[in-house]
Symmetry: C2
Amino acid sequence: MWEVRLAKHLKADLGTDTFDLVQVPTPEPAAGEVLVRTDYLGLSVAYLEMLRADSRLPIPPWEVGQRIGGGAVGTVVRSNSAELAVGDLVRTMAGWCEYSTGPADQYPGLDPDLFPSPVHYLSQGPTAYYGMSEVAKAGAGDVVFVSGAAGGVGSLAGQIATCRGAAKVIGSAGSQAKIDYLVDELGFDAAFDYHDGPVLDHLRELAPEGITVFFDNVGGEQFDAAVEAAAPGARFALCGALATQIGDHEDRFPEPDLTAAAAKGIAVLPFSTYHTPEQVAAWTEHFSTWLSEDRFVFPHTIVEGGLSAAPQALVSLLKGSFKGNVSVRVAS
Amino acid sequence: MWEVRLAKHLKADLGTDTFDLVQVPTPEPAAGEVLVRTDYLGLSVAYLEMLRADSRLPIPPWEVGQRIGGGAVGTVVRSNSAELAVGDLVRTMAGWCEYSTGPADQYPGLDPDLFPSPVHYLSQGPTAYYGMSEVAKAGAGDVVFVSGAAGGVGSLAGQIATCRGAAKVIGSAGSQAKIDYLVDELGFDAAFDYHDGPVLDHLRELAPEGITVFFDNVGGEQFDAAVEAAAPGARFALCGALATQIGDHEDRFPEPDLTAAAAKGIAVLPFSTYHTPEQVAAWTEHFSTWLSEDRFVFPHTIVEGGLSAAPQALVSLLKGSFKGNVSVRVAS
């Protein structure tokens, strides 16, 4: 089978030469183990930090020669365990490989009928849901601003705020096509292109009553403008997943000037999360409910081409080429 | 009478040449007005910001030629109002002058028997109390770290945490004398000199269980170390009053790197306050109660020498020459 390994640590811009595609023996399941075929890989801009030797995440970055990690969904194709049967849909953390093997309890079973597609299990919803509900505590009457709103987390975060009763949800993104998408397809109340004049002007026009919740994926000017446009006591959830994004800002995580925030008593709530089982369960329940009620859209791209398409897909994701969540179809 | 005016805006270090001592006519109270003698001026490092032309506070800085403002307590010496009688103790916001006049309702009456001295009304307690109780919400079982703990706000903030049931209160200050004072006189559980090796080493030794509340008057290295030494979900109240302090750090307000804070889900809560009537009332009630129960010490210096001693007193305060709160006796 094929797997993808880290060829060298990332220094400046990400290119496909950061990865090695290597052929290795397809593993054999031992007693109590299963062989799982990787069906879809989920991608996230947070991967960028894991590719750096100087990652600032509190977990070790990936080593050169090591397989690229991350979440995936797969299908059991051989089973030496009574716990899983051939054909079962499972979650796998085996990373960028075509097949993996291990004890059955390493592969939590997934309900194939809960969602329209297995890729729904690979969304960045647990981050968006945790951030909007537990960190920002967005609810009835809130005026919510989401920066980086067309991304994997932001596109879900804005809809979550609406479903939780926000009075108004405003998004920013980097192109007119994304702006139209946010308003026309995802139901944002308003959106603007952050290249199009001062961010503060947009916010003052769109939220003259003051922002009460800011879900920040970007930092920099958008953070500063949100402080200026905030109501006293606003809650700012700073999302660590997308703050690592390559973009118009220099910092990999906001280092905000808090002077103006102090005057308004703004709560600055930086967070990052690795999708605890509780967070995944809370998101899965709400996501499936909201989808069934036609209150939610899952913005999603499936990249075709098998495992070898994964490196270029991640590069494209980090260039902002996609809207919403992105996964790679490994097996068809 | 004499009053003190701003001579020039502050650029680098504060000196007494920032001030002009000028003689002006003692004002005459009109009908409905009172004449109030200034007894004590309260001083605070927050004044530093008001002296700068480029103040980052959300209120206009003082203008050159304008009288220096700030809180004081005084005594009514003439009254053309039925609301106040000669001899009444009042609060005044007239600033650095020997006498002021205005409508009686500009001078809230104070209970002369509530505290041992009128200077108790000039403490920075409303900031400390609001920050520790309403922003950090310190309470039973919390492990609390206060930076700049020997200052006007910090010396009260640590004791407030203890009175609210904190399990442990740790302070940092800039000299061994201040450390001894914090532990021996103010009842801090532990204290350390921030010049004495890495701050993080002190915190790991003194709070191996992890800090749950940080009341930060300083920023810089102390903020970074507190993040490292914090328990998940800790609350960090960043006090804008003392963050303007001249000290070992370059920034006038912390511009923290929030990456590590994100990993622990630390709530960063910058605040500044101008002592609303509600905040003053809440503090006054608790302060008088705790003092009467012998649970609280009021760390305080009264600078003698009249109004003309005020400029040098403020310069000395900003050099860290005092412990606790500082007031100037204007009339004796």
